[in-house]
């Protein structure tokens, strides 16, 4: 009986292999190795971000079963999820916390790639797809934040879309496109819902596929210092098992955060109520928020906020150009300049975030 079973499984495997060439994928996975050196720890953050993205997809689909995207019912439907639906509070809190952790691991991943120079040729497109993914994830955060239709979300969206609106020439049409009109209304909520559950997931899937495929194609980058002096670890099962431990830890952290600090819903949005005192955006926008707060009304005859926003746009654009400006591993001077820029950017983000948080 047992023999028959084994034979049947073998036949099925053979049948599948003939059609899907699974054996070549298995062979590739067995051949794949991960370099081992002092900075190997940073390799885990890409996988961790991907894992948290999967958590987002699963919890997001679950929330979709109850969420209703209109200004009349969005807030009430989230209230229903967290008060009436069994484990609704847990699913919603995990979705919110996981989004925040994902952005944190994404930032760590990006800065580690930056400082370890993993964007050197031939990995420019891997970097580009990664930067696109960073912006897609930030858009996920921004669009998802409005969906509960509470006061904080309302003003965050008002300010965020207005920031897009002050960009010269394209700003105003972009603002109207994002808001679905001149003001933040139910039309904005419907649009953001569409972006959040359809447009962004589709775009993210494409860029994620490119990103992961290129990582497989080029293998893990080894910093120049360790290029001739490193050991290797089998990707399967050694590295993947270590990854798995990280993911299990992440589930534990998420569950603990969701249970101890359930994500608040706040008050329903009212387009005719003043912005509440102490209003702040999500932590990953806090450094920009604080900068805009400190910028004077006029700088060199221009509106301070326009200049600030243009500067942030400029930096975002420069992020795409990094692998095309710093492309020579032998150019030590340029490497030093990029290190200094990276440290200043990191310090600026950290300090402004802390200041924004405590003031």
């Amino acid at each position: 009986m047992r023999l028959v079973k084994i034979v049947k499984i073998e036949t099925l495997t053979k049948w599948l292999d003939e059609r899907l060439t699974i054996s070549s994928v298995v062979a590739m996975a067995q051949k794949k190795e991960v370099p081992l050196h002092r900075h190997s720890i940073w390799y885990y953050f890409g996988g961790m971000t991907l894992f948290l993205f999967c958590v987002q997809v699963v919890t997001g689909i679950l929330l979709l079963l109850y969420y209703r995207p209109s200004s009349e019912s969005a807030f009430e439907s989230v209230q229903f999820i967290i008060t009436e639906v069994k484990f609704g509070w847990l699913i919603r809190s995990i979705h919110s916390w996981s989004a925040n952790l994902m952005i944190a691991t994404l930032f760590i991943h990006m800065f580690s790639v930056f400082f370890l120079r993993a964007y050197y040729p031939p990995r420019e497109i891997t970097w580009l797809s990664g930067v696109f993914l960073l912006f897609i994830v930030v858009c996920f955060g921004f669009s998802g934040y409005l969906l509960p239709w509470n006061k904080l979300a309302f003003f965050a969206t008002k300010v965020g879309t207005e920031i897009a609106g002050v960009v010269p020439i394209v700003g105003r049409p972009m603002l109207r496109f994002l808001r679905g009109g001149d003001d933040v209304t139910g039309a904005t909520l419907t649009r953001f819902f569409g972006f959040h559950v359809a447009v962004l997931p589709a775009t993210a899937t494409v860029f994620l596929a490119i990103h992961v495929l290129l990582v497989q194609l080029h293998g893990m980058h080894v910093p120049k210092k360790y290029e001739h002096n490193y050991q290797r670890m089998k990707f399967f099962p050694n590295f993947i098992l270590r990854d798995l431990i990280g993911w299990i830890l992440a589930i534990g952290v998420l569950a603990a955060l969701a249970a101890l600090f359930p994500w608040e819903l706040g008050e329903k949005a009212d387009p005719f109520a003043p912005a509440p005192a102490g209003i702040k955006p999500e932590w990953y926008f806090l450094f920009m928020f604080q900068t805009l707060k400190w910028l004077p009304a006029k700088i060199l005859g221009m509106d301070g906020e326009v200049l600030g926003i243009m500067a942030f746009n400029g930096v975002a654009f420069l992020l795409f150009l990094v692998p095309f400006i710093d492309r020579d591993p032998e150019n030590r001077r340029r490497r030093l300049i990029f290190n200094v820029i990276g440290v200043i950017a990191l310090l600026f983000i950290v300090v402004m975030t802390i200041v924004g948080y405590v003031t």
Partner: protein, 157 residues
């Protein structure tokens, strides 16, 4: 000589065929572009929201006199935009657009500082609507205020 003649005869149709091919390429390219345009243009127009004509409301009852005690403020609807009515400590009524000129948050009256304040980025305006602190680049739009019976009526000047 004979060969030359032959060569000339065999080469001569080429320009015509090349011209025909380029013409077809051009036609194909234009058709592809036109098709793409015919798809993209309606999609693009569909995505940009239609302009909704604002109600030409020039005057509105912002509050009852009893609703706004001295040294307080109230947000009221002016068409589809918010306005702010302030009953100053000196007993005067003032009204402005409640939309902050910085990044469009809705402002409020602070009875402790006797100023109009935007909580989003700490913008401050005095009771003439002028931006006096924080990042707002321009003053708030001011409205005229009249009292009619027990009502406070705000009018766009």
């Amino acid at each position: 000589m004979k060969n030359d003649k032959n060569t000339t005869t065999s080469v001569s149709p080429a320009p015509t065929s090349l011209a025909r091919r380029s013409f077809l390429d051009y036609l194909l390219g234009s058709t592809a572009l036109a098709t793409l345009g015919a798809i993209v243009y309606p999609v693009f127009k569909f995505m940009s929201p239609p302009q909704i004509v604002e109600s030409a409301e020039n005057s509105v009852v912002a509050a009852k006199l009893s609703e706004v005690p001295v040294n307080s403020g109230k947000i009221f609807k002016f068409g589809n935009k918010p306005g702010i009515l302030v009953h100053t400590a000196t007993g005067e009524f003032k009204a402005f657009s409640a939309v902050c000129t910085h990044l469009e948050c809705i402002v409020q009256y602070r009875d402790d500082t006797k100023q109009i304040w935007c909580a989003c980025h700490n913008g401050q305006y005095n009771l003439s609507g002028n931006n006096i602190g924080g990042p707002p680049p321009r003053p708030l739009e001011e409205y005229q205020v009249n009292t009619r019976g027990g009502d406070v009526v705000v009018t766009k000047s």
